[in-house]
């Protein structure tokens, strides 16, 4: 087994389509862990634990064990909101903590394993967390009724106070012990939406993690210190797929604080008392790399190759009518090619992990996004049965997809580094920013070729060919996500579109390239959203149609939610066409991703140095029931900033297989003066909640591009818009 080869013994697709709907059965031994990590007690000193999620302490605090990692998108607050609603708790008594790794209790119901991704946290917890809260409430009420000798129906619960008309009152804590002795109701009734106090209510709920995060008190993996702990950095091959041929550690071992240096096959691990000695030790290390199997192509070679492929038949990912015949008959074929670079996720906290292992059991602590598979990977590398390994999820300083590792490479590296130095040496592995940016697992480079034709104000034909790496083909996840040779994450958003086109075709090529790639916030929509929304805008322009009215006409009545956000954003922005007015033009885009619909209008001018300036973005979002409206707004604001920064500036280029950008001076990140004003409207909905962590990202790039077209600059065919160098 290599570091990039997780042990997943059996797997099968559980349910559904879509980017991140995955699931598999676990080997029989994988169940709730106990034993190791004795000090690790999620839920603290609770006396009432009616189910896997709710913990009520004698002081009436309610701690909700959160099965999803908190990496910024707000599941601590969101899942606690659902539980608090049904408990009729006061928000001030609510707390949140990560649940331990335990697939039987804490699986993501959309995946079948414990893990976070695909903007599913609220969606899959919607019923589960409300039921958990409702069961707890019923039991507390029963305990009070028993004590007061009154019928349960006469008891009220408001803001965490249990009361009876007789004047009796009590707190959750007072009845916690008695409630714990009662049987757990199996199917507690849920409130009607009309009775909600928290869900969807502006200002009712504040994030549970803001105060600590504003005071430097939040504990991330990098903050872990333990007696005897070694900080470990790894020297990795400058090219992907390289291996250690030989190394000389003599100088590294002379660095004060360096404890040991060991090969781990694909790299050399430096163990030290602290980060600075580890870094100095790595600097002093002499490694000769075996590049014989490494990827040596650069971005420009890959783009040239992909361009050729866009002109060859690929795998058909979507088709109706006969697009080729329609294009052959067209008076004029409009053609557009789009080039998307590799992108790094660059979460502010680089990858890291902590592990203690005594030879018989192990306790891992890190920002695990796929707990079930990472737990199995650590157990596999250490040769331990899964029940001898505990995994404690830590707050993560961002992810954007980076910690959702299909390959399990970080968990494997953590366990390998611990195993290599031997038991009873706690290790903390830390990646630097350079390790992060040059370390691969990028959003794949893509080239798209679009051809279309218009007739009588409508789109007559549409054909697209997408070329880029799949991060599922050839992995253990292939069976789950790839159907009929189509990796849904390569083509989502492009193989089916909102717009009525009589003759339509979408083809894909997934060439093999030795650069590790991965999903990146909004996955396939990061490129398909841009290309489709630029191309439809271009066709509508050619057809003499307005960008908003033209889109609505092409949607007909088949896409009411997409049409709904488009109309709402047009109203919010006071859309009167793209302009320009006083040097500022507007562009629009609408994208569905992860079950949510987002439309944006961007107001843009061109700066004196040829750099687009985005002044304001209006956004309408429909994500079903809006559980936490303010968190939804925050995710949309952040998604717009994240999407905009990469559309304008973001790229990892490869030169001879080596990543060129090594830190933020070269991998330019959006800064505060580049952030537009953002105005968000949330569509009232009774649909089940859908995702919001990712859907704010895709529309901003094409909205800006369409505004640039109105300014006379054309829609950028190659990203990033500023400084694209490949």
């Amino acid at each position: 087994m290599t570091a990039h080869d997780p042990k997943l013994s059996r797997r099968s697709l559980l349910a559904g389509a879509g980017a991140l709907v995955i699931g598999f059965h676990l080997p029989r031994g994988a169940k709730a862990q106990s034993g190791a990590g004795a000090a690790y007690r999620p839920g603290g000193n609770a006396t009432f634990a009616p189910n896997a999620f709710i913990r009520v302490a004698p002081d009436s605090t309610v701690t909700v064990l959160i099965k999803h990692i908190e990496m910024g998108q707000g599941p601590f607050t969101g899942l606690a909101t659902l539980a608090a609603e049904e408990m009729d708790a006061a928000w001030s008594q609510m707390r949140a903590e990560h649940a331990p790794a335990d697939v039987k209790l804490y699986a993501n119901l959309a995946f079948g394993v414990q893990g976070t991704g695909g903007s599913t946290a609220i969606a899959n917890s919607w019923e589960q967390m409300r039921k958990a809260g409702a069961a707890a409430r019923m039991m507390l009420v029963q305990a009070a009724a028993d004590s007061w000798k009154v019928p349960t129906g006469e008891i009220k619960v408001e803001e965490g106070v249990i009361s009876h008309a007789s004047g009796r009152k009590g707190s959750f804590g007072e009845f916690a012990e008695a409630a714990a002795k009662l049987s757990v109701p199996e199917n507690p009734p849920l409130k009607p939406a009309s009775a909600y106090k928290f869900i969807g209510k502006e200002g009712a709920v504040k994030r549970l993690d803001s105060a600590d995060k504003a005071r430097g008190k939040a504990q991330f993996t990098i903050d872990i210190h333990a007696p005897g702990m070694l900080t470990v950095v790894v020297a990795r091959s400058p090219r992907f797929g390289g291996k250690v041929a030989s190394f000389d550690a003599a100088e590294a071992l002379k660095v004060k604080g360096v404890v040991d240096v060991k090969s781990i096959g694909y790299g050399v691990a430096v163990y030290a008392n602290g980060m600075w000695p580890a870094l100095k030790g790595r600097e002093a290390l002499k490694v000769t790399w075996d590049d014989s199997q490494a990827e040596k192509r650069g971005s420009s070679e890959l783009i040239a190759e992909y361009r050729r492929l866009t002109r060859q038949p690929g795998t058909v990912a979507g088709s109706h009518g006969d697009a080729e015949a329609a294009l052959a008959k067209a008076e004029r074929v409009i053609e557009a090619e789009f080039v998307f670079p590799y992108l790094a996720h660059a979460p502010m906290e680089p990858l890291d992990g902590y592990l203690e292992w005594d030879g018989e059991k192990a306790h891992a602590r890190f920002g695990s996004q796929f707990q079930t598979t990472e737990h199995q990977t650590i157990a596999g590398v250490l040769g331990l049965p899964p029940e001898k390994v505990t995994l404690e999820t830590m707050l993560a300083g961002g992810s954007f997809g980076r910690r959702a590792q299909v390959s399990q490479h970080l968990a494997a590296e953590l366990a390998t580094v611990a195993k290599t130095i031997g038991p009873n040496r706690p290790v903390k592995v830390v990646w630097t920013r350079e390790d992060d940016l040059t370390g691969g697992y990028y959003r794949p480079l893509f080239v798209h070729r679009f051809r279309g034709a218009v007739k009588d104000g409508k789109i007559a034909a549409w054909s697209s060919t997408l070329v880029g790496q799949s991060f599922f083909l050839g992995t253990p996840f292939e069976a789950m996500v790839v159907k009929n040779g189509i990796d849904a994450t390569s083509v989502e958003g492009a193989n089916e579109i909102f717009y009525e086109v009589p003759d339509f075709r979408c083809e894909v090529h997934n060439p093999k390239v030795g650069v590790p790639t991965l999903w990146w916030r909004s996955v396939g929509h990061t490129h398909t959203g841009y290309a489709v929304e630029c191309f439809v805008d271009e066709l509508l322009q050619a057809a003499g149609q307005d960008a908003v009215q033209g889109r609505l006409a092409l949607m007909g009545d088949r896409h009411p939610r997409a049409a709904g956000v488009l109309k709402a954003v047009a109203e919010l922005a006071g859309w009167k066409g793209p302009g320009p007015v006083d040097g500022r033009a507007r562009g629009v885009a609408v994208v569905e991703s992860f079950g949510s619909f987002v439309a944006q209008i961007a107001e843009v001018s061109m700066g004196p140095e040829g750099e687009p300036k985005v002044h304001k973005v209006w956004c309408a979002v429909d994500c079903g029931v809006a559980v936490n409206p303010d968190i939804i707004r925050a995710q949309v604001e952040g998604g717009i900033g994240f999407g905009l920064g990469h559309a304008l500036y973001g790229q990892i280029t490869l030169d001879g297989g080596r990543p060129v950008q090594t830190n933020f001076h070269e991998y330019r990140s959006l800064r505060i003066h580049e952030m537009p004003e953002v105005e968000v409207t949330i569509i009232a909905s009774t649909e089940k909640p859908s995702g919001i962590g990712e859907p704010g990202v895709p529309p901003i790039g094409p909205a800006v591009a369409n505004a640039l077209a109105a300014l006379g600059h054309g829609r950028p065919r190659q990203l990033p818009m500023q400084g694209g160098s490949v």
Partner: protein
């Protein structure tokens, strides 16, 4: 051996002279509110005050700080700090939260110099602090909130 004064307490640590202040604060003194984000003074996550001035601790050798008063987020006190941290909490500024120690430090430094910053002043003072979650809309709003609170 290097001596330094952090949050009012004198420390002597056994590290190489070239060790960045950041790693002394985090690894030797165990004050982990100050964060590592880039190591090359590009992101601002490591911002501390040296004699009241914001500075990137990741590129500041510990041997260069001498007898200066170093303040980390753990050692903050005063009305600007209170106003900024209260505004950050009330606005729910943080998402992942990792960069926010540095953002808060830069915001406090701004308000100490300028009690009524314009948007342009905020741009100039805060553009050395990267937030990959792009919480910038709320950072700006929270600084204005804090400025208003300090007027009272």
């Amino acid at each position: 051996m290097v001596s330094l004064k952090v949050n009012g307490t004198a420390h002597t640590v056994d590290v190489d002279d070239d060790t960045p202040l950041l790693w002394v604060i985090r690894d030797n003194l165990g004050l982990t509110g100050t964060k590592f984000g880039c190591g090359v003074a590009q992101c601002g996550a490591c911002t501390v005050f040296i004699d009241g001035q914001p500075l990137r601790s990741c590129v500041t050798p510990v041997s260069s700080v001498g007898a200066s008063e170093i303040t980390t987020i753990e050692g903050l006190a005063g009305k600007e700090a209170d106003a900024v941290q209260a505004a950050w909490t009330a606005r729910d500024v943080p998402q992942c939260g990792y960069c926010q120690s540095g953002q808060v430090m830069s915001a406090i430094a701004l308000l100490k110099e300028n009690r009524k910053p314009s948007d342009r002043d905020i741009d100039l003072a805060m553009n050395g602090n990267i937030c990959r979650c792009a919480t910038y809309v709320r950072i700006r709003a929270a600084i204005h909130d804090a400025a208003r609170a300090l007027e009272i």
